[in-house]
């Protein structure tokens, strides 16, 4: 039987170290909503989401109460809309009506984000994909909860550089469209290489076409718990450090697995995967950067940060994989800047630069995340940053992403406030040398040699 010390340990994790389940994300296929009539399509989408997800929030809250574990977000991901709107949408404005429908459905069922306003263009863009991409800035400006993502490349297909170029322009336009609100539109837009079909985390969640009609995916968290556990092994060797991370990741993930199973049973929807991610929040102590400091680095960004992140990421996976029967999504440690107080401090003190962040993305899940840059950054420079990050994903056969915010009207040294879980960020300097001639070449970069495994 469980003993009192185990009970107290669990409850201390929850109460003192911010242990929570970050998100229950309900994936909903919209393939059966496809219609050539735009009004009918919108109606079908609204009805489908509000029917399937009607009990999601209440179920999440009931599980929170019964187990005493906070479940921070209840969210929805849908089939990439570029696949759903193809036959009904003739203009970007037509696509915007779907974004509004998604937003309305999200508000009706009470979730705080809905992901899947997306296009998958890793090799080429259909006319429909391009219309959706061109509608993204407006769609994000006139909705509150819709999140958008575009997959620009993969290890199997190489990089679609036409789309990379276009996304530099779209990111800039999304910033312009929401310049009155510190360009927050860009905080809801992410580009990927090797995007997973079952990611529960925003802004990049979508319900892939390889998925069933409905699925429950759960994202766990717990940087605060990890930091606390490492306090007890200060000065110990790397073997001990790694074991401690692994054991702690196991405990965190078991809670996620329990919540996922419960949610799946109660909603009558199959369980998909657990995403083993350490996801920070702006709350003090709930920080990946604090884990680095606990490991012995003065600040995130100091020499040693990349290897610290590599071991953290690897041990989290090793502990987590054993704790859950299905693991997927992004799975690793997230290193967003604005959502992590320790990372913000590291940037403000000059310890952490864009280039170091890029190096760190070689060894962790995702990539350049929630990074504010000057609003006058050239579109081709944004495309260049995106292309570099996509290359890391393509060559290393991993997911990489870019969620970057050119804050219109602001420059280096200023700060931008997004509020809530999105936090705030100091605007970081960008390398001023030009890459326009390179980006303007257009076309595709072929798949790397090691993708030919057949």
């Amino acid at each position: 039987m469980i003993n009192i010390h185990e009970v107290l340990e669990t409850n201390d994790m929850i109460e003192k170290d911010n242990l929570d389940v970050r998100t229950i994300t309900l994936g909903i296929s919209l393939l059966n909503c496809i219609d050539s009539d735009l009004d009918r399509l919108n109606e079908k989408i609204y009805n489908r989401i509000t029917t399937v997800a009607k009990d999601l929030v209440a179920t999440g809250k009931a599980i929170e109460t019964e187990f005493g574990i906070p479940i921070v977000h209840k969210r929805i991901s849908v089939t990439p809309i570029a696949l759903i709107g193809g036959s009904a949408c003739k203009t970007p404005e037509d696509y915007v009506t779907i974004a509004k429908t998604l937003d309305r459905a999200a508000k009706t069922v009470g979730v705080n984000f809905i992901g899947g306003y997306s296009a998958l263009v890793s090799k080429g863009m259909t006319a429909s994909d391009e219309l959706l991409i061109r509608s993204i800035p407006k769609a994000l400006a006139c909705t509150d909860f819709v999140c958008s993502s575009v997959n620009l490349g993969s290890t199997k297909t190489g990089l679609n550089m036409d789309a990379v170029k276009l996304m530099g322009e779209i990111v800039h336009q999304a910033a312009e469209e929401t310049k009155e609100r510190d360009s927050i539109g860009c905080a809801k837009l992410v580009v990927f290489c090797n995007a997973p079909d079952d990611n529960p985390f925003m802004a990049g969640a979508f319900h892939g076409v390889t998925e069933a009609d409905e699925i429950i995916n759960v994202g766990v968290s717990g940087p605060g718990v990890m930091r606390k556990a490492l306090e007890s092994v200060r000065g110990a060797d790397f073997g001990t450090l790694c074991e401690t991370v692994k054991k702690t990741a196991f405990k965190i993930t078991r809670v996620g697995q329990l919540v996922a199973r419960e949610a799946s049973n109660r909603l009558g929807i199959p369980f998909g995967i657990i995403d083993l991610s350490l996801a920070p929040t702006p709350a003090i102590g709930d920080s990946i950067a604090d884990i680095f400091e606990e490991m012995g680095l003065q600040r995130a960004g100091a020499p040693g940060t990349t290897v610290a992140l590599a071991l953290l990421n690897d041990q989290v996976k090793k502990g987590g994989v054993m704790a859950s029967c299905y693991v997927g999504g992004l799975s690793g440690a997230f290193i967003p800047v604005s959502e992590d107080q320790g990372m913000i401090t590291a940037v403000q003190e000059g310890a952490l630069t864009l280039e170091k962040l890029e190096a760190m993305t070689c060894v962790c899940s995702v990539g350049l995340d929630m990074i504010a840059i000057p609003g006058d950054t050239k579109e081709t420079t944004i495309s260049g940053i995106i292309a570099d990050e996509m290359a890391i994903g393509m060559i290393n056969q991993k997911t990489t992403a870019v969620r970057i915010i050119p804050v219109i009207g602001k420059g280096v040294g200023e700060t931008v406030e997004f509020g809530g879980l999105l936090g705030y960020a100091p605007i970081m300097p960008v390398n001023q040398f030009d890459c326009s001639d390179f980006i303007n070449r257009g076309g595709r970069i072929p798949a790397p040699i090691h993708s030919f495994k057949n």
Binding site: V7, T10, E66
Partner: protein, 90 residues
């Protein structure tokens, strides 16, 4: 059997256990195990109970216990046992 863990954390005072036990008895909740310890001067008690025969909804049960805790300046939580079991047992 629906095992639930009830924890009481706070300053030690006369009658805490009595009050919690009375509430449990009145609601047909059977106590399976009790243990207690003092951590940093705070009274920590854990009970494993069976709420199978409890007529109240879990949320009501938990919030009424929380209320009793507030009256005695301590924190009382009720949580399904599974969260501890899953975290600490393979």
């Amino acid at each position: 059997m629906k095992k639930t863990v009830v924890t009481v954390v706070g300053k030690d005072s006369v009658g805490i256990i009595a009050k919690v036990c009375t509430y449990l008895a009145n609601n047909s909740v059977n106590i399976l195990d009790i243990s207690q310890t003092i951590v940093n001067g705070f009274f920590n008690m854990m009970m494993i109970v069976d709420i199978e025969k409890c007529s109240k909804e879990f949320a009501t049960f938990a919030s009424e216990l929380e209320q009793i805790g507030e009256e005695m300046s301590c924190i009382i939580k009720a949580q399904r046992e599974d969260i501890f079991d899953k975290m600490h047992r393979i």
